[in-house]
Symmetry: C2
Subunit: 278 residues, 2 copies
Protein backbone atom coordinates (compact mmCIF):
# COMPACT_ATOMS: atom_id res chain seq x y z
CA UNK A 1 0.00 0.00 0.00
CA UNK A 2 1.20 3.48 -0.82
CA UNK A 3 0.99 6.42 1.56
CA UNK A 4 -2.30 7.75 0.13
CA UNK A 5 -3.98 4.36 0.42
CA UNK A 6 -2.71 3.97 3.99
CA UNK A 7 -3.95 7.48 4.77
CA UNK A 8 -7.45 6.50 3.63
CA UNK A 9 -7.28 3.32 5.71
CA UNK A 10 -6.38 5.25 8.86
CA UNK A 11 -9.26 7.65 8.12
CA UNK A 12 -11.58 4.62 7.89
CA UNK A 13 -10.17 3.15 11.09
CA UNK A 14 -10.85 6.48 12.76
CA UNK A 15 -14.59 5.73 12.37
CA UNK A 16 -14.25 2.40 14.22
CA UNK A 17 -13.33 1.25 17.72
CA UNK A 18 -9.80 2.51 16.92
CA UNK A 19 -10.97 6.14 16.79
CA UNK A 20 -8.31 8.27 18.42
CA UNK A 21 -6.21 11.38 18.00
CA UNK A 22 -3.13 9.38 16.98
CA UNK A 23 -5.02 7.44 14.30
CA UNK A 24 -6.49 10.71 13.02
CA UNK A 25 -3.17 12.54 12.72
CA UNK A 26 -1.51 9.48 11.17
CA UNK A 27 -4.04 9.73 8.34
CA UNK A 28 -3.16 13.40 7.87
CA UNK A 29 0.60 12.73 8.08
CA UNK A 30 0.56 9.96 5.47
CA UNK A 31 -1.29 12.18 2.98
CA UNK A 32 1.04 15.16 3.36
CA UNK A 33 3.03 15.99 0.22
CA UNK A 34 6.64 17.04 0.67
CA UNK A 35 7.10 20.66 1.72
CA UNK A 36 10.78 20.93 0.74
CA UNK A 37 10.25 20.77 -3.00
CA UNK A 38 10.79 17.04 -3.47
CA UNK A 39 8.55 14.47 -5.10
CA UNK A 40 6.25 12.39 -2.96
CA UNK A 41 5.35 12.58 0.73
CA UNK A 42 7.06 14.23 3.69
CA UNK A 43 7.00 11.01 5.73
CA UNK A 44 9.36 9.31 3.28
CA UNK A 45 11.99 12.00 3.88
CA UNK A 46 11.75 11.94 7.66
CA UNK A 47 14.80 10.28 9.20
CA UNK A 48 13.95 7.14 11.18
CA UNK A 49 15.54 8.32 14.42
CA UNK A 50 12.99 8.91 17.14
CA UNK A 51 13.61 11.37 19.92
CA UNK A 52 12.01 11.26 23.34
CA UNK A 53 11.46 13.49 26.33
CA UNK A 54 11.75 10.83 29.01
CA UNK A 55 8.12 9.82 29.63
CA UNK A 56 8.66 6.35 28.20
CA UNK A 57 11.88 5.94 30.14
CA UNK A 58 10.45 6.71 33.54
CA UNK A 59 7.29 4.72 32.89
CA UNK A 60 9.41 1.61 32.29
CA UNK A 61 11.62 2.36 35.29
CA UNK A 62 8.59 2.89 37.53
CA UNK A 63 6.88 -0.28 36.27
CA UNK A 64 10.01 -2.23 37.27
CA UNK A 65 10.03 -0.43 40.62
CA UNK A 66 6.40 -1.42 41.26
CA UNK A 67 6.98 -5.04 40.12
CA UNK A 68 4.46 -4.60 37.33
CA UNK A 69 4.92 -6.13 33.88
CA UNK A 70 4.76 -3.51 31.11
CA UNK A 71 6.18 -5.31 28.06
CA UNK A 72 4.35 -3.27 25.42
CA UNK A 73 5.61 0.01 26.84
CA UNK A 74 9.13 -1.43 27.26
CA UNK A 75 9.14 -2.70 23.67
CA UNK A 76 8.04 0.70 22.38
CA UNK A 77 10.80 2.40 24.37
CA UNK A 78 13.39 -0.08 23.11
CA UNK A 79 12.20 0.51 19.53
CA UNK A 80 12.98 4.19 20.04
CA UNK A 81 16.42 3.40 21.40
CA UNK A 82 17.16 1.09 18.46
CA UNK A 83 15.89 3.69 16.01
CA UNK A 84 18.50 6.06 17.41
CA UNK A 85 21.37 3.72 16.44
CA UNK A 86 20.98 4.55 12.76
CA UNK A 87 24.65 4.18 11.84
CA UNK A 88 24.90 0.80 13.55
CA UNK A 89 21.77 -0.39 11.76
CA UNK A 90 23.03 0.69 8.38
CA UNK A 91 26.19 -1.34 9.00
CA UNK A 92 24.32 -4.33 10.46
CA UNK A 93 22.00 -4.61 7.45
CA UNK A 94 25.00 -5.71 5.38
CA UNK A 95 25.96 -8.39 7.92
CA UNK A 96 22.84 -9.91 9.49
CA UNK A 97 20.34 -11.82 7.38
CA UNK A 98 16.59 -12.23 7.35
CA UNK A 99 14.32 -14.62 5.52
CA UNK A 100 13.49 -14.37 1.86
CA UNK A 101 10.30 -12.34 1.79
CA UNK A 102 7.53 -14.77 1.04
CA UNK A 103 4.90 -14.05 -1.52
CA UNK A 104 2.15 -13.54 1.01
CA UNK A 105 -0.50 -16.09 0.28
CA UNK A 106 -3.06 -14.36 2.48
CA UNK A 107 -5.75 -12.06 1.22
CA UNK A 108 -5.11 -8.29 1.39
CA UNK A 109 -8.57 -7.62 2.83
CA UNK A 110 -7.94 -10.29 5.44
CA UNK A 111 -4.58 -8.81 6.43
CA UNK A 112 -6.13 -5.37 6.86
CA UNK A 113 -8.91 -6.76 9.03
CA UNK A 114 -6.35 -8.71 11.05
CA UNK A 115 -4.22 -5.59 11.49
CA UNK A 116 -7.21 -3.66 12.81
CA UNK A 117 -7.97 -6.43 15.29
CA UNK A 118 -4.30 -6.76 16.33
CA UNK A 119 -3.97 -3.02 16.88
CA UNK A 120 -7.12 -2.95 18.98
CA UNK A 121 -6.00 -5.91 21.11
CA UNK A 122 -2.53 -4.42 21.55
CA UNK A 123 -4.05 -1.15 22.72
CA UNK A 124 -6.17 -2.97 25.29
CA UNK A 125 -3.14 -4.94 26.48
CA UNK A 126 -1.05 -1.77 26.68
CA UNK A 127 -3.71 0.13 28.65
CA UNK A 128 -4.07 -2.87 30.96
CA UNK A 129 -0.35 -2.58 31.74
CA UNK A 130 -0.45 1.18 32.19
CA UNK A 131 -3.43 1.01 34.55
CA UNK A 132 -1.72 -1.79 36.50
CA UNK A 133 1.29 0.47 37.08
CA UNK A 134 -0.92 3.29 38.36
CA UNK A 135 -2.92 0.90 40.54
CA UNK A 136 0.24 -0.61 42.05
CA UNK A 137 1.65 2.81 42.87
CA UNK A 138 -1.69 3.94 44.26
CA UNK A 139 -2.04 0.84 46.46
CA UNK A 140 1.55 1.09 47.70
CA UNK A 141 1.39 4.79 48.50
CA UNK A 142 -2.21 4.94 49.66
CA UNK A 143 -3.19 7.44 46.96
CA UNK A 144 -6.62 5.89 46.43
CA UNK A 145 -6.52 6.79 42.72
CA UNK A 146 -9.89 6.49 40.98
CA UNK A 147 -8.87 4.67 37.77
CA UNK A 148 -12.19 5.47 36.09
CA UNK A 149 -11.64 9.18 36.69
CA UNK A 150 -8.07 8.70 35.54
CA UNK A 151 -9.22 7.23 32.21
CA UNK A 152 -11.72 10.07 31.76
CA UNK A 153 -8.94 12.61 32.28
CA UNK A 154 -7.15 11.60 29.06
CA UNK A 155 -9.32 13.67 26.75
CA UNK A 156 -9.42 17.21 25.41
CA UNK A 157 -5.87 18.22 24.62
CA UNK A 158 -4.37 14.87 25.58
CA UNK A 159 -2.60 13.08 22.74
CA UNK A 160 -3.79 9.65 23.88
CA UNK A 161 -7.44 10.69 23.78
CA UNK A 162 -9.40 7.85 22.18
CA UNK A 163 -12.77 6.21 21.89
CA UNK A 164 -11.28 3.24 23.76
CA UNK A 165 -10.89 5.32 26.93
CA UNK A 166 -14.66 5.62 27.32
CA UNK A 167 -14.95 1.85 27.51
CA UNK A 168 -12.02 1.72 29.89
CA UNK A 169 -13.59 4.35 32.16
CA UNK A 170 -16.81 2.32 32.24
CA UNK A 171 -15.02 -0.97 32.91
CA UNK A 172 -12.90 0.26 35.80
CA UNK A 173 -15.72 2.52 36.99
CA UNK A 174 -18.13 -0.37 37.51
CA UNK A 175 -15.59 -2.56 39.34
CA UNK A 176 -12.97 -0.72 41.36
CA UNK A 177 -11.38 -4.06 42.25
CA UNK A 178 -11.03 -5.28 38.67
CA UNK A 179 -7.74 -7.22 38.74
CA UNK A 180 -6.83 -6.34 35.15
CA UNK A 181 -8.55 -4.47 32.34
CA UNK A 182 -8.42 -7.58 30.13
CA UNK A 183 -10.69 -9.62 32.39
CA UNK A 184 -13.53 -7.08 32.28
CA UNK A 185 -16.35 -8.99 30.57
CA UNK A 186 -16.59 -6.55 27.66
CA UNK A 187 -12.88 -6.38 26.94
CA UNK A 188 -12.48 -10.12 27.45
CA UNK A 189 -15.13 -10.73 24.79
CA UNK A 190 -13.34 -8.33 22.43
CA UNK A 191 -9.99 -10.04 23.00
CA UNK A 192 -11.41 -13.55 22.69
CA UNK A 193 -13.03 -12.76 19.34
CA UNK A 194 -9.85 -11.15 17.98
CA UNK A 195 -6.99 -13.21 19.46
CA UNK A 196 -6.58 -15.43 16.41
CA UNK A 197 -6.23 -12.40 14.12
CA UNK A 198 -3.70 -10.98 16.60
CA UNK A 199 -1.64 -14.18 16.33
CA UNK A 200 -1.81 -14.14 12.53
CA UNK A 201 -0.39 -10.61 12.38
CA UNK A 202 2.46 -11.33 14.79
CA UNK A 203 3.47 -14.65 13.20
CA UNK A 204 3.24 -13.15 9.69
CA UNK A 205 5.62 -10.38 10.69
CA UNK A 206 8.12 -12.62 12.47
CA UNK A 207 8.12 -15.26 9.71
CA UNK A 208 8.88 -12.54 7.17
CA UNK A 209 11.58 -10.80 9.20
CA UNK A 210 9.49 -7.74 9.97
CA UNK A 211 9.89 -6.84 13.64
CA UNK A 212 6.58 -6.15 15.38
CA UNK A 213 8.01 -5.67 18.88
CA UNK A 214 5.12 -3.96 20.66
CA UNK A 215 2.38 -6.00 19.01
CA UNK A 216 4.26 -9.19 19.87
CA UNK A 217 4.94 -8.03 23.43
CA UNK A 218 1.25 -7.17 23.89
CA UNK A 219 0.28 -10.69 22.84
CA UNK A 220 2.98 -12.23 25.08
CA UNK A 221 1.43 -10.34 28.00
CA UNK A 222 -2.02 -11.72 27.12
CA UNK A 223 -0.74 -15.28 26.70
CA UNK A 224 1.08 -15.21 30.03
CA UNK A 225 -1.71 -13.53 31.97
CA UNK A 226 -4.33 -16.06 30.84
CA UNK A 227 -2.34 -19.06 32.09
CA UNK A 228 -3.09 -20.52 35.52
CA UNK A 229 0.24 -22.34 35.23
CA UNK A 230 3.44 -20.93 33.81
CA UNK A 231 6.89 -22.58 33.54
CA UNK A 232 8.12 -20.37 36.37
CA UNK A 233 8.34 -23.53 38.49
CA UNK A 234 11.54 -24.37 36.60
CA UNK A 235 13.01 -20.91 37.22
CA UNK A 236 12.17 -21.14 40.90
CA UNK A 237 13.77 -24.62 41.03
CA UNK A 238 16.93 -23.19 39.46
CA UNK A 239 16.95 -20.39 42.03
CA UNK A 240 16.69 -22.95 44.80
CA UNK A 241 19.49 -24.97 43.20
CA UNK A 242 22.05 -22.21 42.76
CA UNK A 243 21.12 -19.87 45.59
CA UNK A 244 19.10 -21.86 48.10
CA UNK A 245 16.28 -19.38 47.56
CA UNK A 246 13.66 -22.00 48.52
CA UNK A 247 10.24 -22.45 46.94
CA UNK A 248 6.57 -23.02 47.71
CA UNK A 249 4.76 -26.20 46.69
CA UNK A 250 1.48 -26.70 44.90
CA UNK A 251 0.30 -29.46 47.22
CA UNK A 252 0.97 -28.15 50.71
CA UNK A 253 1.82 -24.93 52.53
CA UNK A 254 5.31 -24.07 53.69
CA UNK A 255 8.71 -23.14 52.38
CA UNK A 256 10.92 -25.85 50.89
CA UNK A 257 14.50 -26.48 49.88
CA UNK A 258 15.59 -29.53 47.96
CA UNK A 259 18.97 -31.25 48.11
CA UNK A 260 19.15 -31.31 44.32
CA UNK A 261 22.56 -32.95 44.17
CA UNK A 262 25.28 -34.13 46.52
CA UNK A 263 26.76 -30.62 46.80
CA UNK A 264 23.66 -29.35 48.58
CA UNK A 265 23.31 -29.35 52.35
CA UNK A 266 20.13 -28.93 54.34
CA UNK A 267 19.34 -25.34 55.24
CA UNK A 268 18.99 -25.23 58.99
CA UNK A 269 16.11 -22.81 59.07
CA UNK A 270 14.50 -22.68 55.67
CA UNK A 271 11.57 -20.53 56.78
CA UNK A 272 13.81 -17.80 58.13
CA UNK A 273 16.06 -17.69 55.12
CA UNK A 274 15.93 -14.58 52.94
CA UNK A 275 18.21 -16.09 50.34
CA UNK A 276 21.44 -15.07 48.71
CA UNK A 277 22.09 -13.34 45.47
CA UNK A 278 20.71 -14.27 42.08
Amino acid sequence: MGNDEMSKLFAEWNKTELESYLIEITSTILAKKDDQGEEGHVVDYVLDKTGMKGTGRWTVQEAAEQSVAAPTIAAALDARYLSGRKNERVAAEKILEGPEMSQLSVDKKQIIEDLQAALYCSKVSSYAQGLAIIKAASDKNGWDVDLGLCARMWRGGCIIRAQLLKGIAEAVGKDANLANLMVDSGFAADLNSRQMAWRRVVTLGIANGIAVPSTAASLSYYDQYRRANLPANLIQSQRDFFGGHTYERTDKPGVFHTLWDTSHKALDDVAGRTAGEV
Copy 2:
Protein backbone atom coordinates in the same frame (compact mmCIF):
# COMPACT_ATOMS: atom_id res chain seq x y z
CA MET B 1 8.41 -34.95 26.52
CA GLY B 2 8.44 -36.05 30.12
CA ASN B 3 10.85 -34.71 32.72
CA ASP B 4 13.33 -37.56 32.36
CA GLU B 5 13.49 -37.18 28.58
CA MET B 6 13.96 -33.42 28.93
CA SER B 7 16.68 -34.02 31.54
CA LYS B 8 18.56 -36.17 29.02
CA LEU B 9 18.14 -33.51 26.33
CA PHE B 10 19.60 -30.81 28.57
CA ALA B 11 22.51 -33.15 29.35
CA GLU B 12 23.07 -33.57 25.60
CA TRP B 13 22.82 -29.82 25.05
CA ASN B 14 25.43 -29.38 27.74
CA LYS B 15 27.94 -31.02 25.37
CA THR B 16 27.22 -28.46 22.63
CA GLU B 17 27.63 -24.71 22.13
CA LEU B 18 24.92 -24.34 24.82
CA GLU B 19 27.23 -25.76 27.53
CA SER B 20 26.67 -23.76 30.68
CA TYR B 21 26.01 -24.03 34.39
CA LEU B 22 22.29 -23.27 33.98
CA ILE B 23 21.83 -25.95 31.30
CA GLU B 24 23.71 -28.43 33.51
CA ILE B 25 21.64 -27.81 36.64
CA THR B 26 18.41 -27.84 34.62
CA SER B 27 19.24 -31.39 33.60
CA THR B 28 19.76 -32.32 37.26
CA ILE B 29 16.59 -30.52 38.38
CA LEU B 30 14.35 -32.20 35.80
CA ALA B 31 15.57 -35.66 36.86
CA LYS B 32 15.04 -35.10 40.60
CA LYS B 33 12.36 -37.31 42.13
CA ASP B 34 10.09 -35.76 44.72
CA ASP B 35 11.59 -35.49 48.17
CA GLN B 36 8.32 -34.99 50.06
CA GLY B 37 6.98 -38.49 49.53
CA GLU B 38 4.87 -37.83 46.45
CA GLU B 39 4.91 -39.54 43.08
CA GLY B 40 6.94 -38.04 40.25
CA HIS B 41 9.39 -35.17 40.16
CA VAL B 42 10.01 -32.25 42.50
CA VAL B 43 9.73 -29.71 39.67
CA ASP B 44 6.08 -30.56 39.14
CA TYR B 45 5.30 -29.64 42.76
CA VAL B 46 7.18 -26.35 42.71
CA LEU B 47 4.78 -23.40 42.67
CA ASP B 48 5.13 -21.25 39.56
CA LYS B 49 5.78 -18.02 41.42
CA THR B 50 9.29 -16.71 40.88
CA GLY B 51 11.02 -14.58 43.44
CA MET B 52 13.81 -12.13 42.73
CA LYS B 53 16.49 -10.21 44.55
CA GLY B 54 16.43 -7.09 42.39
CA THR B 55 19.23 -7.71 39.88
CA GLY B 56 16.78 -7.97 36.96
CA ARG B 57 14.91 -4.90 38.15
CA TRP B 58 17.91 -2.60 38.29
CA THR B 59 19.37 -3.94 35.06
CA VAL B 60 16.19 -2.93 33.24
CA GLN B 61 16.06 0.42 35.00
CA GLU B 62 19.72 1.11 34.18
CA ALA B 63 19.27 0.06 30.53
CA ALA B 64 16.47 2.63 30.24
CA GLU B 65 18.66 5.20 31.97
CA GLN B 66 21.47 4.58 29.46
CA SER B 67 19.08 4.63 26.46
CA VAL B 68 20.01 1.05 25.62
CA ALA B 69 17.47 -1.49 24.35
CA ALA B 70 17.37 -4.61 26.52
CA PRO B 71 14.14 -6.35 25.46
CA THR B 72 15.22 -9.89 26.37
CA ILE B 73 16.12 -8.90 29.91
CA ALA B 74 12.95 -6.81 30.24
CA ALA B 75 10.80 -9.71 28.99
CA ALA B 76 12.44 -12.07 31.48
CA LEU B 77 11.79 -9.62 34.31
CA ASP B 78 8.17 -9.15 33.24
CA ALA B 79 7.73 -12.93 33.10
CA ARG B 80 8.78 -13.03 36.76
CA TYR B 81 6.33 -10.28 37.65
CA LEU B 82 3.50 -12.08 35.84
CA SER B 83 4.43 -15.36 37.50
CA GLY B 84 3.89 -13.63 40.84
CA ARG B 85 0.26 -12.85 40.03
CA LYS B 86 -0.80 -16.47 40.47
CA ASN B 87 -4.29 -15.76 41.77
CA GLU B 88 -5.05 -13.37 38.94
CA ARG B 89 -3.82 -15.91 36.38
CA VAL B 90 -5.93 -18.69 37.83
CA ALA B 91 -8.98 -16.41 37.46
CA ALA B 92 -7.98 -15.16 33.99
CA GLU B 93 -7.62 -18.68 32.59
CA LYS B 94 -11.38 -19.09 32.92
CA ILE B 95 -12.04 -15.84 31.04
CA LEU B 96 -9.43 -15.31 28.33
CA GLU B 97 -9.14 -17.71 25.41
CA GLY B 98 -6.30 -19.13 23.36
CA PRO B 99 -6.25 -21.09 20.13
CA GLU B 100 -7.17 -24.71 19.87
CA MET B 101 -3.84 -26.50 20.25
CA SER B 102 -2.91 -27.69 16.80
CA GLN B 103 -1.69 -31.17 16.18
CA LEU B 104 1.85 -30.11 15.46
CA SER B 105 2.66 -31.19 11.96
CA VAL B 106 6.37 -30.61 12.43
CA ASP B 107 8.84 -33.33 13.21
CA LYS B 108 9.89 -33.80 16.85
CA LYS B 109 13.57 -34.06 15.92
CA GLN B 110 13.22 -30.86 13.89
CA ILE B 111 11.56 -29.01 16.78
CA ILE B 112 14.34 -30.03 19.16
CA GLU B 113 17.02 -28.87 16.72
CA ASP B 114 15.12 -25.61 16.21
CA LEU B 115 14.83 -25.11 19.97
CA GLN B 116 18.58 -25.56 20.38
CA ALA B 117 19.24 -23.00 17.64
CA ALA B 118 16.64 -20.57 19.03
CA LEU B 119 18.07 -20.81 22.54
CA TYR B 120 21.59 -20.20 21.25
CA CYS B 121 20.51 -17.16 19.19
CA SER B 122 18.50 -15.76 22.10
CA LYS B 123 21.53 -16.08 24.35
CA VAL B 124 23.70 -14.19 21.85
CA SER B 125 21.02 -11.50 21.51
CA SER B 126 20.70 -11.25 25.29
CA TYR B 127 24.45 -10.95 25.85
CA ALA B 128 24.63 -8.35 23.07
CA GLN B 129 22.12 -6.28 25.05
CA GLY B 130 23.87 -6.77 28.36
CA LEU B 131 27.26 -5.80 26.95
CA ALA B 132 25.68 -2.75 25.29
CA ILE B 133 24.41 -1.58 28.70
CA ILE B 134 27.87 -1.96 30.26
CA LYS B 135 29.54 -0.25 27.27
CA ALA B 136 27.10 2.67 27.40
CA ALA B 137 27.66 3.17 31.13
CA SER B 138 31.42 2.85 30.67
CA ASP B 139 31.48 5.38 27.82
CA LYS B 140 29.26 7.82 29.70
CA ASN B 141 31.20 7.62 32.95
CA GLY B 142 34.69 7.21 31.49
CA TRP B 143 35.19 3.85 33.20
CA ASP B 144 37.11 2.38 30.26
CA VAL B 145 35.70 -1.08 30.98
CA ASP B 146 37.48 -3.89 29.13
CA LEU B 147 34.50 -5.92 27.84
CA GLY B 148 36.72 -8.89 27.02
CA LEU B 149 37.98 -9.01 30.58
CA CYS B 150 34.40 -8.52 31.74
CA ALA B 151 33.26 -11.60 29.80
CA ARG B 152 36.15 -13.63 31.17
CA MET B 153 35.15 -12.66 34.72
CA TRP B 154 31.88 -14.60 34.53
CA ARG B 155 33.39 -17.99 35.32
CA GLY B 156 34.24 -20.00 38.39
CA GLY B 157 31.44 -19.57 40.88
CA CYS B 158 29.35 -17.38 38.58
CA ILE B 159 25.93 -18.78 37.71
CA ILE B 160 26.07 -17.44 34.14
CA ARG B 161 29.35 -19.22 33.40
CA ALA B 162 29.09 -20.73 29.94
CA GLN B 163 31.00 -21.94 26.93
CA LEU B 164 29.51 -19.01 25.04
CA LEU B 165 31.44 -16.52 27.16
CA LYS B 166 34.75 -17.74 25.74
CA GLY B 167 33.61 -16.79 22.24
CA ILE B 168 32.30 -13.49 23.55
CA ALA B 169 35.60 -12.69 25.24
CA GLU B 170 37.43 -13.41 21.97
CA ALA B 171 35.01 -11.35 19.87
CA VAL B 172 35.11 -8.22 22.04
CA GLY B 173 38.81 -8.81 22.77
CA LYS B 174 39.84 -8.60 19.13
CA ASP B 175 37.76 -5.47 18.41
CA ALA B 176 37.30 -3.08 21.31
CA ASN B 177 35.11 -0.89 19.09
CA LEU B 178 32.75 -3.65 18.05
CA ALA B 179 29.38 -1.86 17.80
CA ASN B 180 27.37 -4.89 18.87
CA LEU B 181 28.20 -8.51 19.67
CA MET B 182 25.87 -9.70 16.89
CA VAL B 183 27.93 -8.10 14.11
CA ASP B 184 31.14 -9.91 15.08
CA SER B 185 31.87 -12.10 12.06
CA GLY B 186 31.70 -15.34 14.02
CA PHE B 187 28.47 -14.58 15.85
CA ALA B 188 26.91 -13.07 12.70
CA ALA B 189 27.59 -16.35 10.87
CA ASP B 190 26.04 -18.31 13.75
CA LEU B 191 22.94 -16.10 13.75
CA ASN B 192 22.56 -16.11 9.98
CA SER B 193 22.64 -19.89 9.84
CA ARG B 194 20.13 -20.23 12.67
CA GLN B 195 17.70 -17.33 12.18
CA MET B 196 15.10 -19.36 10.28
CA ALA B 197 14.98 -21.97 13.07
CA TRP B 198 14.63 -19.11 15.57
CA ARG B 199 11.60 -17.80 13.64
CA ARG B 200 10.04 -21.25 13.47
CA VAL B 201 10.21 -21.65 17.26
CA VAL B 202 8.73 -18.23 17.99
CA THR B 203 5.91 -18.48 15.44
CA LEU B 204 5.10 -22.03 16.55
CA GLY B 205 4.72 -20.83 20.14
CA ILE B 206 2.65 -17.77 19.32
CA ALA B 207 0.36 -19.60 16.89
CA ASN B 208 -0.33 -22.21 19.57
CA GLY B 209 -0.89 -19.75 22.41
CA ILE B 210 2.33 -20.59 24.22
CA ALA B 211 4.03 -17.38 25.32
CA VAL B 212 7.75 -17.28 24.48
CA PRO B 213 8.37 -13.74 25.68
CA SER B 214 12.15 -13.68 25.95
CA THR B 215 12.82 -15.74 22.84
CA ALA B 216 10.44 -13.50 20.87
CA ALA B 217 11.97 -10.33 22.33
CA SER B 218 15.46 -11.56 21.44
CA LEU B 219 14.39 -12.05 17.83
CA SER B 220 12.65 -8.65 17.74
CA TYR B 221 15.94 -7.10 18.81
CA TYR B 222 17.78 -8.92 16.00
CA ASP B 223 15.16 -7.96 13.40
CA GLN B 224 15.24 -4.30 14.39
CA TYR B 225 19.00 -4.05 14.69
CA ARG B 226 19.61 -5.50 11.19
CA ARG B 227 17.40 -2.91 9.48
CA ALA B 228 19.00 0.18 7.96
CA ASN B 229 15.48 1.65 7.83
CA LEU B 230 12.82 1.31 10.49
CA PRO B 231 9.29 2.78 10.58
CA ALA B 232 10.45 5.28 13.21
CA ASN B 233 10.00 7.99 10.55
CA LEU B 234 6.25 7.76 11.19
CA ILE B 235 6.71 8.08 14.96
CA GLN B 236 8.96 11.08 14.50
CA SER B 237 6.37 12.63 12.14
CA GLN B 238 3.69 12.13 14.79
CA ARG B 239 5.93 13.77 17.38
CA ASP B 240 6.40 16.75 15.07
CA PHE B 241 2.65 16.89 14.49
CA PHE B 242 1.49 16.84 18.09
CA GLY B 243 4.43 18.46 19.84
CA GLY B 244 6.41 20.39 17.23
CA HIS B 245 9.38 18.20 18.15
CA THR B 246 10.89 18.64 14.65
CA TYR B 247 12.74 15.98 12.67
CA GLU B 248 15.80 15.36 10.52
CA ARG B 249 15.55 14.49 6.84
CA THR B 250 17.16 11.74 4.84
CA ASP B 251 18.10 13.98 1.92
CA LYS B 252 19.65 17.04 3.52
CA PRO B 253 21.05 18.24 6.82
CA GLY B 254 19.12 20.43 9.22
CA VAL B 255 16.16 20.39 11.54
CA PHE B 256 12.67 20.56 10.07
CA HIS B 257 9.10 21.21 11.12
CA THR B 258 6.14 20.64 8.82
CA LEU B 259 2.83 22.49 8.85
CA TRP B 260 0.94 19.21 8.73
CA ASP B 261 -2.50 20.80 8.82
CA THR B 262 -4.05 24.25 9.09
CA SER B 263 -3.75 24.23 12.89
CA HIS B 264 0.05 24.30 12.67
CA LYS B 265 2.04 27.51 12.65
CA ALA B 266 5.66 27.93 11.64
CA LEU B 267 8.09 27.56 14.53
CA ASP B 268 10.12 30.75 14.63
CA ASP B 269 13.39 29.11 15.40
CA VAL B 270 13.22 25.44 14.67
CA ALA B 271 16.91 24.82 15.22
CA GLY B 272 16.82 26.24 18.72
CA ARG B 273 13.72 24.40 19.77
CA THR B 274 14.10 21.69 22.37
CA ALA B 275 10.50 20.59 22.03
CA GLY B 276 7.61 20.16 24.40
CA GLU B 277 6.24 17.12 26.11
CA VAL B 278 5.44 13.80 24.52
